[in-house]
């Protein structure tokens, strides 16, 4: 065990691309935790998707031994937290597991919206914060400007900031010294009953579920029986250890320490982030505050492109759900798409990550239907129902009113794009809450319906600002509005997978946009096809896709037979991938592309 005074626990707060993972790599290298020959880029981002997108999805941790300039050896525990709003709850738990943060800001870019959201989490967790200005090797680096920004926008003292280049290693030693000097040591009672926070957990094929814990009080040893306080389940600890960054067994974990335990737990579902772990006998009385079960906020349908792969999809989804308590699913049947699953996610990134993993790791091609938020339907009999799928909208005669989730969105944007951003937010039914300036950039705060954001808001924002805007949001609760279900009819038949909830005032506009899009997305058939948008029985927009006029090979002689046959056979195989709806074949991409708005 280590003296509390010789432990420092910290996280790194940063915007995507500001160099968080590179800095972590350098700290690992500088302390000699990993031999140079074993170094690979972004050591802590284990999943392909994490490496590719430069984001962290699961909390990762590493224990560094650092011999400081004062001659003492310290244990530094770094928790690499997820950096995305979808995982805000996980971030908040990780933050509670450490006492301080490094705030990494790219000195060529400045503070971004995501930096703000995460740094506020650190401030909420009472962290001491050391600002680190990265990328000083680049010509565009401007440390004094960034320092000013950190003080003005975030409101923390930047006088102790350290200028570094994670790329070249310049300033890394100073960072380590500052962690020892400026971040507080953890507190805790060795003799008190065990109280540990479950920071994160994941599944390992050999060891079962691995639980990342922070010991608050007491001591955890191998062979002990522990209890999860949220549900009372008891487990026998088969091993404990720390990450360096690979697993290394230890005899015990004491107060202030961060490490892992395994206890033959089969499902990640049985280990809830934020839960309190104690001993089965003589455990602590009260759990740590702030635990809450995961609540999906975005739902969509996932259907196999090849309907024969439904069972494979079920298998994949069940396996992923074992490893992700925040992901929910139930079977769904769609007239257009056949059998699939209605899945709930923490947000859009979470949705994309799960979808990518099914496609890549399980090799199943998917049709994803339009994401929908959870509406609250207040019935005339006084009850409330949650609506996860527009197709399930009950008969309006029984409905009193609807409420939709709203968010508070923070957008930082160079002022030349401000007008476009304001227009985008207004178009999406936003209510402006704040507009201020941080240097040459505007900070806009909007109250927006989540429904207007889940789909293509971020894409549009990137497009109108040429990628210069940064965006983050937090959930704000429900509010009543005039919402209706809009159906799309193709060849006079409603296509359930294209039903969407819209605001009544915007229904015509959305309906028109959708039928126009579909007219381009659905290939011409041998007959003309009416495409309509309707609310209840009333058609609000209509387009007609005219019949196929010409598709014939002008020349087809002996030398063409093989090539033309193969071409036709390939086209026929492409047709098979489309979804037959009545007499009409609809390409898969139509189910998502039809909803994209160009303005």
């Amino acid at each position: 065990m280590t003296e509390l005074s010789h432990i420092r626990n910290f996280s790194i707060v940063a915007h995507i691309d500001h160099g968080k993972s590179t800095l972590a790599d350098r700290l690992i290298q500088e302390t000699g935790t990993v031999q140079d020959r074993d170094m690979k880029e972004q050591l802590l981002d284990a999943m392909d998707i994490e490496r590719e997108r430069g984001i962290t999805i699961k909390a990762n941790t590493v224990r560094l031994d650092y011999k400081a300039d004062d001659g003492e050896t310290y244990i530094l525990n770094l928790i690499d937290t997820p950096g995305h709003v979808d995982f805000a709850y996980e971030v908040s738990r990780s933050m509670r597991a450490v006492e301080g943060s490094l705030l990494v800001v790219d000195s060529t870019q400045g503070v971004e919206a995501q930096t703000l959201a995460n740094v506020y989490q650190a401030i909420d967790a009472d962290h001491d914060i050391v600002p680190v200005f990265n990328k000083i090797d680049l010509p565009a680096s401007d440390v004094s400007r960034v320092a000013e920004q950190v003080e003005d926008v975030i409101g923390i003292d930047a006088s102790g900031a350290i200028a570094v280049s994670a790329k070249t290693g310049q300033g890394i030693h100073e960072v380590l010294e500052s962690i020892v000097a400026h971040l507080p040591a953890p507190k805790g009672e060795r003799d008190a009953p065990l109280k540990a926070m479950l920071v994160d957990s994941w599944y390992d094929a050999y060891l079962g579920v691995i639980v990342l814990v922070r010991i608050m009080d007491g001591v955890l040893k191998k062979g002990e029986r522990i209890k999860m306080m949220s549900n009372g389940s008891v487990h026998h600890v088969d091993r404990i250890g720390v990450f360096r960054p690979q697993m290394q067994p230890v005899d015990e974990l004491g107060p202030g320490e961060i490490g892992f335990l395994t206890a033959s737990i089969k499902q990640v579902r049985d280990t809830r982030v934020g839960d309190t772990i104690t001993h089965e006998k003589k455990g602590c009385e009260t759990p740590l505050p702030g635990f809450k079960p995961a609540q999906p906020v975005v739902f969509c349908g996932l259907f196999p492109v090849d309907s024969a792969e439904f069972e494979d999809l079920r298998d994949a989804i069940e396996k992923l759900a074992l490893n992700d308590a925040s992901f929910s699913y139930e079977m769904e049947t769609s007239a257009a798409l056949g059998f699939g699953f209605r899945c709930g996610f923490l947000g859009l990134l979470h949705l994309e990550v799960i979808r990518d993993r099914i496609e890549r790791e399980y090799n199943i091609e998917l049709i994803t239907t339009a994401p929908s938020v959870v509406y609250h339907i207040y019935m005339k009999d006084g009850t409330m129902q949650e609506l996860h799928n527009p197709a399930d909208m009950p008969d309006l005669t029984y409905v009193d009113h609807l409420e939709e989730p709203r968010i508070k969105a923070t957008i930082l944007v160079p002022d030349e794009y401000l007008g476009d951003v304001l227009k985008l937010c207004q178009d999406r039914r936003g209510l402006q809450e704040d507009l201020s300036y941080a240097g040459p950039r505007a900070m806009v705060v909007y109250d927006l319906p989540l429904n207007e954001v889940v789909f293509d808001f971020y894409d549009r924002l990137k497009s109108v600002t040429k990628g210069y805007a940064s965006f983050d949001y937090q959930m704000m609760g429900y509010r009543q509005d005039n919402l209706v279900k809009m159906q799309i009819l193709v060849n006079d038949e409603p296509v359930d997978a294209l039903s969407v909830m819209v605001h009544r005032d915007r229904a015509e506009l959305r309906g028109r946009a959708m039928v126009e899009k579909l007219k381009d997305l659905i290939p011409r058939h041998m007959f003309k096809i009416p495409i309509q948008a309707a609310i209840g029985g009333k058609v609000i927009a209509r387009e007609t896709l005219s019949a196929l006029r010409k598709d014939v090979t002008a020349k087809c002689y002996g030398g063409d037979a093989t090539r033309k046959r193969k071409l036709l056979e390939k086209q026929k195989a492409g047709k098979k991938k489309m979804r037959q709806f009545g007499k009409v074949e609809i390409p898969q991409e139509a189910f998502i592309s039809a909803l994209k708005m160009d303005s």
Binding site: M526, F527, S546, L548, R549, K550, D551, V552, T553, A554, K555, C556, Y557, G558, G559, A561, T562, K564, R565, L568, E569, Q571, K572, K575, K583
Partner: protein, 389 residues
């Protein structure tokens, strides 16, 4: 083992295709195997063709040859002696049908026209001329090196030499409207002898037009609606002039259809010799797709060591059925549903047939399946519905 489909080659006839791979200049819309070369040693080509004839004849003994077609490239660059040598050799290998058709594709230039009599003496009895357009501006746009006046002069010489003359036109060209085409077609019909091939311009990948199209620089092409209107107008005008369509793009006075091309559309057997030439041959209960080396130099080397063939594939029952469907449906007379079923081992899909026939795209007459007039311009879509597999 599923029963091997052993179709009798006589079902579709037996032809010989000879590919001459050279042109004076490459046309921007053409995706055929053609090369521009200044020095051509005709005796070497005769030697190679004859070698290939010996090889292929050895595999197909006892057959009667219904047609020979010299295609290209520009076969009217062949010396009449070269053509004569090939025809004579073919005659020595296979008995000729009494009504054998021997066609040569010709460029309508003055130099070529000077060789027409020589071709006739060699045994050619039908000329197919690539006139392509009847106005000079469009000929230049199509990259053709002849003028309308030259074409007309060459055409008069052809008529004097041959009883059977066909010519090709390309329509649905850049900036062409319906009235322009109708006028041009009427003019063409006033010249026509007994056969016309009328092709809508197709932008093929890997051609100069394809590159320009991909770059968005090929402007003024008619949209599908106008192209369809042009197609229907073509049918009407040709029918009224006594040259109805017997195939998607081919029109003839009754009895003057191209017998060689009918072998393709009847899904018969044909031998293909020369660079890039394709063949279909039935041997011992199997049907093979053959293909020769495309590059002339490579082909020559391969012939020297025994065979110009680069690919020989066994066609599965499904491949054969789909090829028969794709070829047969191009003909006004339609296809024999019994023969499709015999090739594939199962009949055409009844539910898809009902669907197409409810839409008025196909009609059934006894054992024959035909595309209706409305169906022709969207034939590929119809075939896709019916393809086996």
């Amino acid at each position: 083992m599923p029963a091997v489909s052993a179709e009798d080659w006589r079902n579709g006839g037996f032809g010989l295709y000879v590919h001459w791979p050279f042109c004076q200049a490459k046309c921007p819309y053409c995706d055929f195997n053609s090369h521009v070369s200044r020095e051509i040693d005709q005796t070497a080509w005769v030697r190679d063709y004859l070698s290939e004839l010996r090889r292929t004849a050895a595999e197909t003994p006892g057959r009667v040859l219904n047609a020979i077609f010299f295609g290209g490239g520009t076969p009217s660059l062949m010396a009449p002696e070269t053509v004569a040598a090939v025809i004579d050799a073919a005659r020595s290998h296979w008995p000729f049908a009494n009504d054998i058709e021997i066609t040569l594709e010709a460029n309508p230039g003055s130099v070529e026209a000077g060789r027409f009599a020589g071709y006739r003496d060699a045994g050619v009895n039908r000329i197919s001329m690539g006139v392509q357009a009847l106005n000079d501006a469009d000929l230049r746009r199509l990259g053709r090196i002849h003028t309308v006046a030259e074409a007309r002069a060459a055409f008069d010489i052809a008529r004097a030499c041959f009883d059977r003359v066909s010519f090709d036109l390309i329509y649905a060209r850049q900036e062409q409207n319906l009235a322009d085409w109708q006028a041009e077609l009427r003019q063409a019909l006033s010249m026509a002898v007994d056969h016309l091939s009328l092709y809508q311009l197709t932008i093929e990948q890997g051609t100069a037009f394809g590159d320009r199209y991909n770059a968005g620089k090929l402007r003024g092409l008619p949209d599908d609606d106008l192209a369809a209107d042009m197609y229907f107008a073509t049918q009407e005008i040709c029918e009224a002039a006594g040259l109805p369509a017997y195939e998607v793009s081919n029109h003839a006075r009754p009895g003057a259809e191209s017998r060689h091309n009918l072998i393709y559309w009847h899904y018969g057997d044909y031998i293909g010799i020369g660079p890039g030439a394709h063949g279909r041959i039935s041997i011992a209960g199997q049907r093979f797709a053959t293909e020769c080396h495309r590059a002339p130099g490579l082909w020559t080397q391969a012939v020297a060591v025994g065979s110009g063939e680069s690919v020989r594939t066994v066609l599965s029952p499904q491949d054969q059925a789909n090829e028969y469907l794709m070829m047969g449906m191009r003909l006004k007379e339609g296809l024999d549903m019994g023969r499709f079923a015999a090739l594939y081992g199962a009949p055409l899909p009844a539910e898809r047939m009902d669907y197409l026939s409810d839409l008025g795209m196909i009609e059934v007459d006894g054992n024959r399946l035909m595309v209706t007039e409305d169906g022709w311009p969207i034939l590929n879509a119809i075939i896709r519905e019916l393809l086996a597999g």
